[in-house]
Amino acid sequence: MKIKNISKYVVDKILYICLVLMIIIISVISPSFLSIRVLSDVLIQSAPKILLAMGMLVVIIAGGMDMTVGRLAGLGAIISGTLAQQTTYYLKFWTNLPELPIVVPIVASILIGLAMGAVTGIIISKFKVPAFLAGLGLQMILYGGNLLLLKKAPNNSQPLAGYKDTFLKFGTGSIFGVSYLIIAAMLVMVFVYILLNMTTLGKNIYATGGNREAAKVAGINVFKVDMFVYMLSGALAAFAGCMIAARTGSATATYAEGYEMDAIASCIIGGASFAGGIGNVPGAFLGVIIFSVINYGLTFVGLSSYWQYIVKGLIIVVAVALDMRKYASRS
C-alpha cells in the first residue's frame, strides 16, 4: 500500500521531480549553475515564452489551439523594433518618423496582436475552420508579411537595429535587481491566474472547452469566449515579440520561429488537455521553466545544444504518457 502511495505521488508530481533532478544533475557537474545570475538568466530567457504559454494555455483550456503565436511574436518584434529606432540611425525604417516615447512600440505591438487575434478568432469561431488549419494558414501569411515588411527600402531585408536606449533598457534593465522582463512575465501570470480562477469569464472559458454544446445550452456566448481567448493570446504573443526585440536589440523575420510549438508543449506537459477544459497556470509555467533549464543547462555542462531537442522531445512524450496513465487508472 505504501509503495502504491509513493508511486502515485511520483506520477502526480513528476514535473517537479524532473525539474529538481535536472537542476541537481546540472549543479553537480557544474556547481556555478546554482548562482543568482544564472538562474536569473534562465528566467529572463523564459519571459517571452511564459507570455506565449500563458496565452496558449487560455486558448487550450477553451478547447482551441493558436498556431499563429510564433509568427505573431515575430511580427510584434518587427513592428515594435521599427517604432523604437533612433532618429539618427542611418537605416531608419520609417524615414520621417519623429522620436517616439517607449510606450508607442509596446502599445503598437499589443494592438497589432489584438487585431490578429481577432482575425484568428473569427476564422476559427465564425467560419468553423479547424484551429490547426486556420493557424497553419495564418502562420504562412504572417511569415510572408514579415518578410515583405522588412524588405521595404531603405531596410532591404536587413535585421533591424539602432534602437533607442530606453527601449533597450526595457529589454535588459532591472529594478532592485529584478529584470523588467521577469516582472512583466510575472504580472502576466498573475493576470491569467486571476482571470482563470477568480472571474466568471474564467469559469466560462473552462466550460466552453470542457463541453462546447453544453456551454451553449447553459447560456454562455461561446463566440465571445473564443474571441476573447484568441485576442488575449494574440496580444500576449505580439508583446512577447516586443520583449525579444528589446532584449536582443534587433529583429528579423525568423524571430520566434516555432515558438508556438514550445508554448503548446509547455502547456501540455504542465497538465493541460488538448480536449479542452483542463489546464492551470503553475503547470504551464513549470513547463516553460523545464524547457529553459534544459536549453540553458545542457550548454552549461558542455553538451552540444543540439541535445536539447532530443531531451525536450523525450520529456514531452514521457510526461504525456505518464499523464495518460494517471487518467487510465482513474476510470
Binding site: T200, K203, A214, V217, A218, G219, I220, I278
Partner: protein
C-alpha cells in the same frame, strides 16, 4: 450436443475495486435459446458482472463455464472466440463506412492476389446480406452507417454478433435510445435469435420490456445476487421491491398539483429548417405537467430547442403570461425564466472535466454574474458559490464525495440530478425536461418525478418530452403527440391510452383528415 443444460454459468464471481466490493459471490446460469434479464439499480454490479464474462475485467474469484466447460476469458477476443458477444450501451460504429464493412470490421473478406490482400467486395456484400436475411433485417449492405438511425446501428451490432457465430449475446440497455416501434423490431429479432438457440442476457431498467421479452430474471443488489425467477412469476412491483430491497408500491408520486391559469403560449411556430417542425401551437398552464410524446424523428427535441433559442424559428410567436418574447439565444430564454434539461447528458449537458460545483453554478453565474462576485473588482465569491451548490447537493441528496469532484466520475443518475440542480438554482417558471430519466435507476427516477410534482405544485410549468410511455402517461396532465414535425394531437384524461398515443405518433395526416 452440449454437455450441460446451461450454455453459460458464472459461479461465485467476486470482484473488488479499491474501496468497493463490486461483486460478492454472484452466480448466474443461462439456458440456451432463452432471454435472461439482469436487473438492478445503477451500481448494483450488473455491468461489472457482464464485463467479467466478456473478459474486460478478470474476476478475483469464481469461474465461468461455457457449455459446462471451464473457460478462461482474458480479453474480449477470447470471449468472442468462445461465442460470447456484447452489445454496449453506447455504440461506436465506424460511421463513414458501409453497413457491410461495419459487420466485418477487422475481418473483411479478402482475395489474395500477388501477395496482397484485396478486399473481396462480392463476398462482403453477399455474406452481409445473408446475415441480414437470417435476422429479417431490411438494410442495404452498401448503405453508409452515418445515414442509419441509432436503432439500426444497434441492430447492426447484433448482426455483427450473429455473423461471428455468437451463442450468447449480452445486450446492455439496448432500448435506452430506441422508440417503441424500433423496440418492437428489436424484440422481433430477439425472438428470431431465440429460435436459433442463441442465449441473450438482457440488461435493462425498463420493467415492462423485461416482463414482455424475458424468460428468466436475475436481480442484483449491492454487488450480490438477490435471486433468479421465471419472468412469468414476477410483476412490476415484485421486481422493483426486490431491486431496491424495500416495498415500492408506486412508480409515480401521487398527483397533488392542480393546473391554474395559462402561462406559456406557443402559436404556430415553424422551424427555419423545412424538414423540421411545422406550425405547432400549444399552451401550458401554471402548475401543469405537459408531456410531449412521439417517435424519434418527430422533431420534439428540435421544437423545444428552438423555443429555448438554440435553433432558428421562421414564424410563429411565443408568449409568456400574455407578453410576446423572442429567445435569440439560450441566455434570453434563461432570463425569461426558462430552463432546459437536454436529452443527451454527455453531449449537451455536463461539463465532464469540471467539478460538481462548477456544473451546478454554470447557468446561474452566467445569467446573474453579480450574485457570485464580490464588490469592487468582481472577483468570484467562492463562499457564496459553494453555499449555493451545497444547498442543491443537499436538497436533491446528490451522492458526491465533495463539491470539487469531477462530475464525470459520478453515476448517471447522480449526474442527472446535478444537472437538474443547475436549472432549479435559476428558479425557473418554465422547466423543460427532455428525456429526464433516460438510463438512470429506479430510485433516481422516482426522485426526479417527485421534483417535477413539487415544481408543478409550486405553480411552475413543467414540460416533459419522453419516449417512455408509462412515464409520459403517469406524470403528464396533458400530452401533445408529434409526428414527423407536425402536431398530431393533444390528449388528456380518459383519452390517454397507449394505443391512442401510438396512433397519433405514427400518423398525423389520418387524424387531420378525420376532423
Amino acid at each position: 450436443m452440449s454437455k450441460s443444460e446451461y450454455v453459460l454459468e458464472a459461479v461465485e464471481i467476486s470482484k473488488s475495486f479499491p474501496g468497493v466490493k463490486a461483486l460478492d459471490k454472484v452466480s448466474m446460469r443461462v439456458k440456451p435459446g432463452t432471454v435472461h434479464a439482469l436487473m438492478g439499480e445503477n451500481g448494483a454490479g450488473k455491468s461489472t458482472l457482464m464485463k467479467c464474462i466478456y473478459g474486460i475485467y478478470s474476476p478475483d474469484h469464481g469461474s465461468i463455464l461455457i457449455d459446462g466447460e471451464k473457460a478462461t476469458i482474458a480479453n474480449p477476443r477470447n470471449a468472442m472466440d468462445l461465442g460470447v458477444s456484447m452489445i454496449h450501451q453506447e455504440l461506436h460504429p465506424v460511421r463513414p463506412q458501409t453497413a457491410g464493412e461495419n459487420i466485418f470490421l477487422g475481418r473483411i473478406p479478402y482475395k489474395k492476389v500477388a501477395g496482397i490482400h484485396w478486399v473481396d467486395r462480392q463476398r462482403l456484400i453477399g455474406e452481409t446480406k445473408e446475415v441480414f436475411k437470417k435476422m429479417g433485417l431490411d438494410i442495404d449492405p452498401k448503405q453508409k452507417v452515418a445515414e442509419l438511425s441509432t436503432a439500426y446501428c444497434q441492430l447492426l451490432e447484433i448482426a455483427r454478433a450473429v455473423s461471428l457465430g455468437a451463442k450468447i449475446i449480452i445486450m446492455d440497455e439496448p432500448t435506452s435510445s430506441l422508440t417503441d416501434t424500433e423496440t418492437a423490431i428489436l424484440f422481433k429479432i430477439i425472438k428470431q435469435l431465440k429460435s436459433e438457440n442463441v442465449a441473450i442476457i438482457y440488461i435493462s431498467h425498463k420493467i415492462d420490456e423485461i416482463l414482455e421479452i424475458s424468460d428468466a430474471v436475475t436481480i442484483m443488489r449491492d454487488g450480490k445476487n438477490v435471486g433468479t425467477w421465471p419472468a412469468s412469476e414476477l410483476t412490476t412491483d415484485s421486481i422493483v421491491s426486490r431491486m431496491v430491497g424495500r416495498e415500492m408500491n408506486n412508480r409515480f408520486p401521487p398527483k397533488i398539483h392542480t393546473p391554474g391559469a395559462e402561462y406559456l403560449r406557443i402559436d404556430g411556430i415553424t422551424s427555419t429548417d423545412p424538414h423540421s417542425f411545422q406550425d405547432i401551437s400549444f399552451e401550458v398552464r401554471k402548475g401543469e405537467i405537459f408531456g410531449i410524446g412521439g417517435l424519434v424523428g418527430s422533431q420534439r427535441s428540435e421544437l423545444i430547442e428552438a423555443i429555448f433559442g438554440l435553433r432558428g424559428i421562421a414564424k410563429g410567436t411565443i408568449r409568456i403570461d400574455g407578453k410576446e418574447i423572442y429567445n435569440k439565444k439560450p441566455i434570453d430564454a434563461i432570463k425569461n425564466g426558462m430552463a432546459l434539461l437536454t436529452e443527451d447528458r454527455r453531449k449537451t449537458g455536463m461539463i465532464g472535466s469540471s467539478s460538481v460545483a462548477d456544473n451546478t453554478l454554470i447557468v446561474q453565474q452566467n445569467a446573474h454574474p453579480k450574485l457570485y462576485t464580490r464588490k469592487g473588482l468582481h472577483f468570484i465569491d467562492y463562499k457564496k458559490r459553494n453555499a449555493d451548490a451545497q444547498k442543491y447537493v443537499d436538497t436533491l441528496s446528490i451522492k458526491t464525495p465533495s463539491l470539487k469532484t469531477a462530475i464525470q466520475s459520478l453515476s448517471g443518475g447522480t449526474q442527472q440530478k446535478v444537472l437538474l440542480g443547475r436549472w432549479l438554482l435559476t428558479q425557473p417558471n418554465i422547466l423543460i425536461l427532455d428525456e429526464p430519466t433516460r438510463g438512470i435507476d429506479v430510485g433516481a427516477k422516482y426522485e426526479i418525478y417527485e421534483l417535477m410534482e413539487e415544481m408543478a405544485r409550486d405553480g411552475k410549468c413543467v414540460i416533459m418530452i419522453s419516449s417512455e410511455m408509462p412515464e409520459l402517461m403517469g406524470m403528464s396532465d396533458r400530452i401533445m403527440v408529434m409526428c414527423e414535425g407536425h402536431m398530431s394531437g393533444i390528449i388528456s384524461g380518459s383519452e390517454v391510452t397507449d394505443e391512442k398515443i401510438m396512433l397519433l405518433a405514427s400518423t398525423y395526416k389520418a387524424i387531420q383528415e378525420e376532423e
